[in-house]
């Protein structure tokens, strides 16, 4: 059964078209990732699916409910962790969870037990009576994760769940996510622009300028490049490219003074190639392609280049200062 079914979702803000004809379906129990640079339309799509924004056109069903006509049923079916914190910092962790339980009508008989269990799961039991103001960034994120799960949602939406967190906390959060999926049979829909994080997903939609440009499992994405990625530096890169094209029938590219191309079974290809290649080689390496390579091939840009854009940096800084 498809727990999320989106058809031709589009959203425009005045002149700006943020999301263009996005169609996707997510099966129950899946971890579905949205990968793309900042401003690609990831958050807008999530906001549409969780009823915070109305699409300009198109429609979607979440847990069988229409996101426009059955907003409150959709809201009851989903849990959310946003990019920016949405906690009441002047209340304690426990009070934040209790507010959520009231708002989502969690039955009184299970409420306190559920709050206790979730605080245990995210490792905040000992801080439950402290004001959220005193929590670290990672603790806040964990509390939000616990809160998003409190009302037994069928789908958990995570918008950049580990943005601005240290690697150790990021790893912990991913451990929770995997545990949760097993314990709660939960579907997880997340956005990220971290490649290593995207590797955790069952399927990944790569989104750029509001469009889905590819949708597949991480391995299939990498296979789409046609095998392993060979990068080399030659004394004369231009000549090397020409030779690769003519003698080996490959389609190499030069970027930042490095020639790269893909071949099936790179390890086996390499020894003969090095012996037979006429251009003078300075260095050569072979590796499995990463999702970054896939993104680069699909869009002509690396995601990492985008990351350095000033707005994103500023926002991350402001967030970390709060």
């Amino acid at each position: 059964m498809n727990i999320i079914e989106a058809e031709n979702l589009s959203k425009r803000f005045g002149q700006l078209v943020a999301v263009v004809q996005v169609s996707l379906s997510v099966t129950e129990g899946e971890i579905f990732g949205f990968l793309g640079p900042n401003g690609a339309g990831k958050t807008t799509t999530i906001n549409i699916l969780c009823t915070l924004l109305r699409p300009t056109s198109g429609t979607a069903l979440v847990n069988g409910y229409d996101i426009i006509r059955q907003r409150n049923q959709v809201r009851s079916s989903i849990g959310l962790v946003f990019q920016d914190p949405t906690l009441d910092e002047y209340l304690t962790g426990e009070q934040n969870l209790r507010f959520h339980a009231y708002a989502y009508n969690v039955p009184q008989s299970v409420r306190e037990r559920r709050i206790g269990e979730l605080l245990e799961l995210v490792g905040l039991s000992d801080r439950r009576k402290s004001k959220v103001r005193t929590y670290s960034g990672g603790m806040k994120r964990r509390l939000e994760l616990a809160r998003g799960l409190l009302h037994h949602p069928r789908v958990l939406f995570l918008d950049e769940p580990t943005l601005g967190l240290d690697p150790q906390t990021r790893r912990h959060i991913w451990e929770y996510i995997h545990t949760l999926r097993q314990q709660e049979r939960l579907t997880i829909f997340l956005t990220t622009h971290y490649m290593d994080e995207a590797e955790n997903c069952d399927r990944i939609a790569i989104i750029d300028y509001g469009r889905i440009v590819a949708l597949a499992t991480p391995d299939n994405h990498k296979d789409s490049l046609g095998g392993d990625l060979v990068t080399l530096k030659a004394e004369d890169n231009e000549a090397a490219v020409l030779e690769l094209k003519e003698r080996y029938n490959l389609s190499p590219e030069i970027q930042n003074g490095v020639v790269s191309f893909c071949v099936p079974q790179g390890e086996k290809f390499l020894p003969d190639f090095v012996r037979g290649f006429r251009s003078h080689l300075l260095s050569i390496s072979v590796r499995r392609p990463t999702l970054d390579d896939v993104f680069l091939r699909l869009t002509g840009r690396a995601i990492r280049e985008q990351e350095a854009d000033s707005m994103g940096q500023m926002r991350a800084m402001i967030r970390s200062k709060r």
Binding site: L52, T86, D88, F99, H100, Y102, A103, Y104
Partner: protein, 273 residues
């Protein structure tokens, strides 16, 4: 309907939780009204006695100060909406399965409860200036404070629904809401001021809230007041087109204001998010 009700109580519950935990807020909203009370009441009591013939100026101004406490606290309760938006918590509320109307009603109820508590606390000053604080008086005043504070909380939320920053909220409150409060007859009898000021004050719906409180507090004293200095313009009870408003009519005006404000705030909220 269940979603409206749940929205109201969940949101109001949190407002009150916050209020109980931040006691400093309680003190801050007393500061200004008490200051005005001392300056105008004690300071000018001797000089401007002629403004309110038949009533001590300090007795005249006291119900106005109670009203002012309620008005200011209610309007500023809207600030919590801006605050929640700035700190992100508003999103948590908006994605919950609650009705928008319920959320607005909850904010208004929460703000009104706080304002009513603060206004009621001002009542302890009554005996000091010689107004007997009888149970009947309290039973009459408190419901009135509730109606006024609900209406004004609605106004605060309406302003807040359009504001992205706390500074913006303060600017609007200072430009629109403070004049409304100061021209509502808190400090002067509306019937005894120049015509242009009378017109502004009588168009201002808050005037009727202040007048209702004053009539309840000073009602028994108001008989000698009428016509005390030859002409028959009463100090208490607003005269509109020759008709002197009763408490009930005053309450009607303020209740209608409240309904309009809350409907407008809900509409504005629905449109924005």
């Amino acid at each position: 309907m269940e979603e409206v009700f749940r929205g109201t109580w969940v949101v109001a519950y949190r407002e009150l939780l916050r209020f109980v935990q931040e006691r400093s807020r309680m003190l801050s909203s007393f500061g200004m009204p008490v200051l005005f009370f001392i300056i105008f009441g004690a300071g000018f009591n001797q000089i401007i006695g002629t403004l309110t013939p038949g009533v001590d100026f300090i007795k005249f101004i006291y119900p106005g100060i109670v009203a002012m406490t309620v008005l200011m606290t209610s309007v500023f309760s809207g600030l919590s909406v801006v605050w929640d938006r700035e700190f992100g918590f508003l999103k948590e509320v908006l994605v919950a399965p609650l009705s928008r109307t319920g959320i607005v009603l909850g904010k208004a109820t929460g703000g009104a409860t706080v304002a009513t508590i603060q206004g009621s606390m001002m009542l302890v000053l009554a005996p000091i200036i010689g107004i007997a604080l009888t149970p009947i008086l309290v039973i009459k005043v408190v419901p009135l404070l509730i109606i006024i504070s609900l209406s004004l909380s609605g106004l605060g939320i309406l302003v807040a629904s359009r504001m992205r920053s706390q500074q913006g909220f303060h600017v609007v409150v200072q430009l629109i809401v403070f004049p409304l409060i100061f021209l509502s007859g808190i400090f002067f009898p509306v019937n005894n001021v120049p015509v242009w000021l009378q017109i502004i004050s009588k168009v201002n719906p808050l005037t009727y809230g202040v007048d209702a409180i004053r009539q309840i507090f000073l009602g028994s004293d108001s008989a000698p007041v009428r016509g005390a200095i030859g002409n028959s313009t009463p100090v208490i009870g607003i005269t509109v087109f020759g008709h002197t408003m009763t408490v009930l009519e005053d309450v009607m005006v303020i209740a209608i204001l409240g309904v309009v404000m809350i409907l407008a705030a809900t509409w504005s909220f629905n449109k924005q998010e």
